[in-house]
């Protein structure tokens, strides 16, 4: 029984210990990450903010097995992944992790529904099951009427919603999103924001690297990074709206 097929509920979905990443050699050596300790529990939504070059995208790449750390450990659902073979890493990415990128990365020659079902087909699902799942996801992201459109016929916001549906295709343990609204205008950002908030409410484990404060504000927990390390962490508690009174000019 492998851990990614049967995650223990008590295990964090993501865990790092002493995670470090260096680029370059000698005097030009840059510490992109420096001793990062992270636990993301099942069903949690985490937002990571910080200035460009703070290491937040590097963190996402290491968590998703897209790069290997210089030092430290990466665990996904109780399984250490930083020393896995390339083949095992590729399998982990296909089955356990959904990626969403700033530039969408859709296959331009495939329609929306074909893009969404592709990961399921690659993971060995039957064409019928893959198409059914893709159709459900299209409905979830509000694009049923765009199923047969090529990405070039979709707006930026629609493309990103297709990319999010594709990330969910294999019911991943965790979705890793890198600047999901970085290329979108404010209207399309709101559509993605509603979608991400819906995923959070549905209990999808989600890690979002973002510059957008509204996207970050959908998370359960917020971390700010500077110079490769965590410097500030806040639980964005789901309290009452009572404290909003202060913000609209009501006085105690």
């Amino acid at each position: 029984m492998s851990a990614d097929e049967s995650p223990l509920r008590a295990e964090p979905v993501l865990r790092t210990r002493g995670l470090a990443m260096d680029y370059g050699q000698g005097a030009g050596r840059v510490h992109a990450l420096d001793g990062v300790e992270l636990d993301v529990s099942n069903g949690e939504t985490l937002a990571v903010m910080g200035p460009s070059g703070c290491g937040k995208s590097t963190l996402l790449h290491l968590l998703g097995g897209l790069e290997r750390p210089s030092a430290g450990e990466v665990w996904v659902a109780g399984r250490r992944i930083d020393r896995l073979s390339e083949k095992a890493l590729a399998r982990l990415r296909r089955h356990a992790i959904g990626f969403v990128f700033q530039a969408f990365h859709l296959m331009e020659e495939l329609t929306a529904v074909e893009n969404i079902e592709l990961p399921a087909l690659l993971a060995g699902r039957s064409p019928g099951a893959a198409r059914r799942r893709a159709s459900e996801l299209l409905e979830q992201v509000g694009l049923t009427d765009r199923a047969a459109h090529l990405p070039s016929a979709l707006s930026g916001g629609q493309r990103q919603r297709v990319a999010i549906a594709r990330a969910l295709s294999n019911e991943p343990l965790v979705v890793l999103a890198d600047e999901p609204t970085g290329n979108l205008d404010s209207g399309a950002t709101l559509d993605v924001l509603r979608l991400l908030d819906g995923l959070r409410a549905a209990g999808q484990t989600l890690l979002i690297v973002t510059h957008d404060e509204r996207i970050a504000a959908t998370a359960d927990r917020l971390i700010t990074m500077r110079d490769g390390a965590f410097v500030e962490e806040t639980r964005l508690t789901r309290g009452t709206t009572g404290s909003l009174g202060d913000l609209v000019g009501l006085e105690r």
């Binding site: 404060e213 509204r214 970050a216 504000a217 917020l222 410097v231 500030e232 609209v248 000019g249």
Partner: protein, 193 residues
Amino acid sequence: MPDAVGVSMKEPSRGYQLRVVQEVLLALLATEASHGYQLRARLELALGPLADALNEGQVYVTLSRLEKAGLVTSERVGQTDRPNRKVYELTAAGRARVVEWLADTSWPKPAPAEFHLKLVAAAAAGLGDPVRLVDMQRHALLAELAAAQRAVLAEPDGSVPGLLLEGVVLRLQADLRWLEACARYWNTTKGRR
């Protein structure tokens, strides 16, 4: 007993107060005479989830104060199945006050000078890292943004309280953008020291 008078004159102390509640109630009475319960209901429609935080008694306390000031008059109206209730109507003086209020362009000011000086002082005295202070402040505002945004997402499209909450969100975004600029400045200044 002076003490008892003092107590009875006091504002109900629980919940939020609307600072301009006098003017708002007068304006709501400009179209038609209403009783306190109706006025409260109309405030709730405009404020949505924020009305939950409003002090229950403020509307009634304010109405009797407006009556003493001659801005409204009241009349008791009998009801068959319930106790009589007071219906309030705007006086000419009350109407003049509403017109004045609508034309008033004063605007609540944000106060960035205080935080700005906090950063300058912290850096000058070596009391703390300004960038760290900015990060703490950013997280505090982001927690408020999260609360406002959850309230926005819970509102149906095009709701009146949704418009108010959008104002809260945009204002917090503007403050957060300024804090980004503060972080950039103090981050580079720190490096030069």
